[in-house]
Symmetry: C2
Subunit: 341 residues, 2 copies
Amino acid sequence: MDLNERKLKILQAIVQDYIDCAEPVGSRTLSKKYNLGVSPATIRNEMADLEELGFLMQPHTSAGRIPSDKAYRLYVDYLMQVKKIAAIQSSQLKEKLVRSFSEIEQLLQYSSRVLSELTQYTTVAIAPQIKGSKLKQIQLIPIDSEHIISVIITDTGVVKKPLLRIPGGIGDISVLMRVSGILNEKLRGKTLQDVEELLEKELKHEVFRFSSVMETIIPELFKTLEEIDDFELYLNGTTNIFNFPEFSDLIKAKSFLTMLEEKKKISELIISSGEGISISIGAENFFEQARDCSLVTATFKVDNSAIGWLSVIGPTRMDYSKVIGIMGQISSYINELLKAR
Amino acid sequence: MDLNERKLKILQAIVQDYIDCAEPVGSRTLSKKYNLGVSPATIRNEMADLEELGFLMQPHTSAGRIPSDKAYRLYVDYLMQVKKIAAIQSSQLKEKLVRSFSEIEQLLQYSSRVLSELTQYTTVAIAPQIKGSKLKQIQLIPIDSEHIISVIITDTGVVKKPLLRIPGGIGDISVLMRVSGILNEKLRGKTLQDVEELLEKELKHEVFRFSSVMETIIPELFKTLEEIDDFELYLNGTTNIFNFPEFSDLIKAKSFLTMLEEKKKISELIISSGEGISISIGAENFFEQARDCSLVTATFKVDNSAIGWLSVIGPTRMDYSKVIGIMGQISSYINELLKAR
DNA sequence: CGTTAGCACTCAATAGAATAGAGTGCTAAT
DNA sequence: ATTAGCACTCTATTCTATTGAGTGCTAACG
């Protein structure tokens, strides 16, 4: 028993119909709506086979069939035709994104919003995991007698600019520059994780010798690095979940929204995806609470290391072809922008 | 017919019980749980009076009573005893907040989170409305040959530090300093709103004369200011709403969460509150979708102008005494920190 | 021999009827 | 003025009947 042409056609019809209507699909509906050239009875036979093969499920004996995760997988891999985004929409999109964002975080954050608006699903953007990236430059810039801004630039293009308050006053600028020099010399090329440790353990003493005023800068800097959250998530369209009947159960909706608040888990889930645009469906997600969901994720690279992610989260009955179409367009624009940097 | 001692006592008991249990309160329950010294029948009579006076409502004839907005108002104004926060908790709280945040946004953002954790309600923090505040200082700081950071400091203590990319290269530093000087001279003391306009209309040309390289800086700066959202909201504990039975209806939960996404309306709602800690109950909120909610809002001032807000949003059946207790403590710590700045 | 019409069967969803129980308002006694 | 007693109201719950969409099986068909 193999997947002949007709079975594939029927399966495709069922998946598409279920994506559209969210109702179990029956043989009658199927033969009426899609002209498959065979009678409902024949379709029923085929459906029974497809169920046996694990592509379809019945909520109960007298209901139509719904696709299994396996069916969605087959669908996205072989059956689906990616919907191309309309030309007008595409140029509007480009225009929106191209407003040259100087910082990666902003670009991703904004893309997430646009993506959510276009797809009407929930989207997540993850900015580079800053602690693993390497320090390129650190600058201490005096603002007034009591404040400095420390500009921290990493190889992944992330820029942090914390304002530090030095209650005792920052004193002589030349000292500041001197310290700046030492920090750069000692820390350049190290990951921020290492920088954090070095600051705490070694440099503290070294720089202290230099200027007692600096006693306060290093701990402040350390504290700032310590506080940086490695999982900055930008969520958009979270309430879209209410539009889907499969989440019209309060418990399900709650569990979805609560899941989104588990930033660490969500980011693990997204970061673990493959190159380019990848799709994970239902039970393919290792994260327990995401078993009812599918993710379409785009990974962005700079210098061959992944630095950003953009993801659409929705029911397994997601409109994959639409989402992938939009995602493809957006991610190619983002890649363009990243290259031009 | 006036509110004698006994009526007040009964009303207080009803409000408290309803806050605790979220069930209409009947005369029997009332006389059993709270020793009011009178029989259920007497209580029934008093309740009938209280209903006539608009303090109580009956969901239906054979149900107990629930408090009206008017009753909650009376309760918070006269009957409630503010729950003091436990000493241990208070010192932990202080410790958490005092990690000297140099930037107001951070302080408020963090306070919002802590407040939500302690109260188990949804909280909103609103940072200063930056466009209305006045420019204190602007600095253009070279980072590398193609990037500068423009540090914008306002009188309300907000600091913006956008990274600007100057594709043509920034050229000579002395020119940068010169432009910096001009910008400061011309723009200091103006609101950022005005600065935005001035940049677009007048300064463009003036500075252009100076250096063709600067042609790009001004538009970039303008764009940045333009993009600044005047309503930066920091939400926390949004899913807490699912813990309250009055929102266990999907439509209500959805409408609550959707309401929170209307940033502009929410901020209007919060910003319109009075000095110090103020409470607005149900229909007192002019914002349609907030009619089922109550807000407890703390307003923070610097130099006599409001620059930050912290708000708890929950059902009208909110545990006011607990929330106000916690809010009071947090806001006094925040005020301390703002003064020390 | 694959396809299809016909039909009995299944099961969720919906509507209707019966019951239980919490709470009220009124009346009459204390 | 307060309270016990009681009839009454109305929701919530449970149970039953009905409807209808959809299936699987069988037998007939081309």
